[in-house]
Assembly symmetry: C2
Homo-oligomer: 143 residues x 2
Amino acid sequence: MLSNSSKYALKAVLYLALHTDEINKIMVKDISERINVPKAYIAKLLQELSKRKIISSTKGPKGGFYLNASNRNETIMQIIEVIDGKKKLESCILGLEDCNEQKPCPIHRLISPSRSKMITLLETKTINDLATDLELNKTFLPV
Amino acid sequence: MLSNSSKYALKAVLYLALHTDEINKIMVKDISERINVPKAYIAKLLQELSKRKIISSTKGPKGGFYLNASNRNETIMQIIEVIDGKKKLESCILGLEDCNEQKPCPIHRLISPSRSKMITLLETKTINDLATDLELNKTFLPV
DNA sequence: ATAAAAACATGATATTAATCATATTTAAGA
DNA sequence: TCTTAAATATGATTAATATCATGTTTTTAT
Ligand code: FES
Ligand code: FES
């Protein structure tokens, strides 16, 4: 469903949501340790997210990664899109070129409603929404 | 979501459902051509499915692969399980060791109901069900 | 100005999944 | 019973992901 890279990216961004802001930044070494993902690997992902303005960063001493208010309103899907590309979730489950109601493959109707629901949720929920759940201990983000 | 291998396997089994029985078998070379999957690749998958009794086969001249009545009542999920393993669909989308309601990850509640629905359907629908839809032109299986 | 600390850019290696190849076994038919 | 046509078993190669490494640029503080 999601690549390892997307999972890691999502974890990292949620960690940033809980522990950073414009004042309190965190560097890749610390993120890596806290979410238990290899430093060089998560660094590459964070750099990509930063380039696409999903997260923020500043170089140099006292620099690091963080989320600003605008970043917090990005949706889950935007992260997934940057890392995995959009088609991955929407493509035909049997690998048909294009997935639609007019010429559905044998399992299209079985999974399409559930999948659409899922996609809509991922497109709607923001980083902030998930961070709030975590803060209220409604959900958990183990290492 | 599904591996390439599972997709191919599913296509192949559906093709068998439409075009074979105990009398009329088909050999791997022909399946390969009709579903547009490399011969050596689909051969390996069919052999695995045959070993697990999801499909039937006989060796030697006039031999080939086919579905018997019992095969037709296998569910979609059984095919996926043989090829991909069950955990692939049920595992936590963030890669958490175990996915459950007690300690849900931040997106568990977003996707869990849809995913459960999907899994139930895959566990319920049989090869025969899908083949019937195809025969009635309710669904399509392009190459 | 300069040194140090951080992200950034780029590329190399390792692991896994996808694909291909081939020798062996089994069954049908002459 | 011998030849041939098929699946079967096993392994090799290739391609895609995941992982790691390192030099470059920017910024802060001396
Ligand atoms: S056509 Fe296959 S999932 Fe939509
Ligand atoms: S705990 Fe992550 S999807 Fe269930």
